[in-house]
Each structure stands twice: as C-alpha cells, then as structure tokens.
Symmetry: C2
Subunit: 110 residues, 2 copies
DNA sequence: TTTTTATATTGCAATATTACGATAATAAAT
DNA sequence: ATTTATTATCGTAATATTGCAATATAAAAA
C-alpha cells in the first residue's frame, strides 16, 4: 500500500487535494509568491531566487504545472511560467465558502 | 536527503505549506467537509463516513490536528473534533490576497 | 467485574516525495 | 560549427506518506 485511494472521493475533493498538495511545500509556495511579485512573465531567475539546486527547482515547477497552478511555455532557452489564475480562483472560492459557512454557524464547542 | 528544507523559507511560507499539505489528501478534505456539515461537535461517525479503515482515519485526524486545522477533545469514549476556524481563516485570507492581486494585474501572457 | 464500544498506537509493507549530481536537450551567441 | 547559457531528465539515496491488521487504551454499559 501507500497509494492514495482517490477513487473513493468526489471529483471536487480530489481536485482541492491536488491543488493543496501542490502548495504543500514551502518552495512551491515561494515560487507562486515570486511569480506574483514579478511583472514580466519570463523569469529565468527562479533558480537563483530559491535556496535549492536547479534540478530540484525544475521538479517543483513540474509539480506546480501538473497540478494546474502554473502555465508554462518555452521561450528559447528561457522559460515563461506564470500563475494559472483559474486554479487560484478555485482555491479562493473554496476557502471563502468554508469561511462564510463557519461564520454563519458560530459553533462554540471545543 | 528527502527532508524538506524548511529553514530556508519564511515563517509564513512554511505555515501556508503546512496547512496546504494537511489538505493535500482527499480524505482530509472530506473530513473537513464532514465536520462542517454536522451540527454537533461530537462526531464519532467519521470512521463510518469515510471509505477507509479506522486506524487510517485516526491517522488522518492526527495530521489535521498537528497542522492546526482541527481541534479535538476526548469526551468519554467518543471524540469531539471540530474545525479550527483560525487556520481556515488564514487560508481564506491568503488566497483572497492572491486573487485580488492577480485581478489587479491582469497579466495576459502565456 | 466483565463486556462492549470507540479511539489511539504500533508495526510493517507499498508507494511517494524530496533533493541533488550527472547528463541530456535546446536554442541563442560567438 | 562551437561555445555558452538555460531548463529538463535520469538515477539514486534519504525520508515521508498511505493504508491496514493487530493490539492497546479508556470509558460507558451490562
């Protein structure tokens, strides 16, 4: 064993889990924050910004891309990675819904 | 190797990563959603609701608790787990900030 | 007190993640 | 055509996660 039983959960639950998992590493959070901070879309300096070796950064970028959090095109020997707004909007909506639900409830146990 | 290099990232980045990682599994997303759906705080039926064995569920609950997403007290031989609103508020604020930042920017590359 | 009920812990096997050196691939620059 | 610069892939070691059977723990019920 060791493999997640995705088939037992809803599409939505799996989707949120995939996005959350992709952000479940500080390097990937840092990458998203960096992509937000730069104006340009070409940003070959991600490797220099992060305290990790180039193959490791490349791997993290791949995971963010697989999860759908970033989009990337190859521009010559530079990369053009940027945030996929749709994915982040999904997360924003999800947690906004949870928050408003919790506020309505005001349950005060625990 | 294989251990995350947390020390190279900011407190905030690590905090978000910890919360996101905890939600990086559909079972744990399902648990949060279930805790939201029930009115009561005592909810010993989590095990019956999920398609996983009892020790596995117990482990997922432990991880959610470690990450700070749920709070739990033992109430006799039942458990009282509930959502820690603070943690979910943190996530809500974080993604709200990202979303509003992205909307302001309207970058249209990629 | 013994049984029942409910959750936690232990131990283990299967799998996944993290990290990086070495190397490949690719395109711009010389 | 060769060099240079940049990103991707491969291979591998260390560690973490996932899942569950077996067992422990703890309190209510009998």
């Amino acid at each position: 064993m060791g493999a997640t039983k995705t088939e037992h959960f809803t599409e939505k639950q799996n989707q949120i889990a995939i996005l959350a998992k992709a952000l479940g590493h500080p390097a990937r959070v840092a990458i998203i924050e960096y992509l937000m901070s730069v104006d340009t879309c070409i940003c070959g300096d991600i490797v220099n910004v992060l305290p990790l070796a180039q193959p490791t950064v490349s791997q993290h970028l791949k995971e963010l891309k697989n999860a759908g959090l970033i989009k990337g095109n190859i521009e010559g020997n530079a990369i053009c990675y940027c945030i996929d707004e749709k994915a982040l909007k999904t997360l924003q909506s999800y947690f906004a819904a949870i928050s408003s639900h919790l506020e309505k409830k005001k349950n005060n146990c625990c």
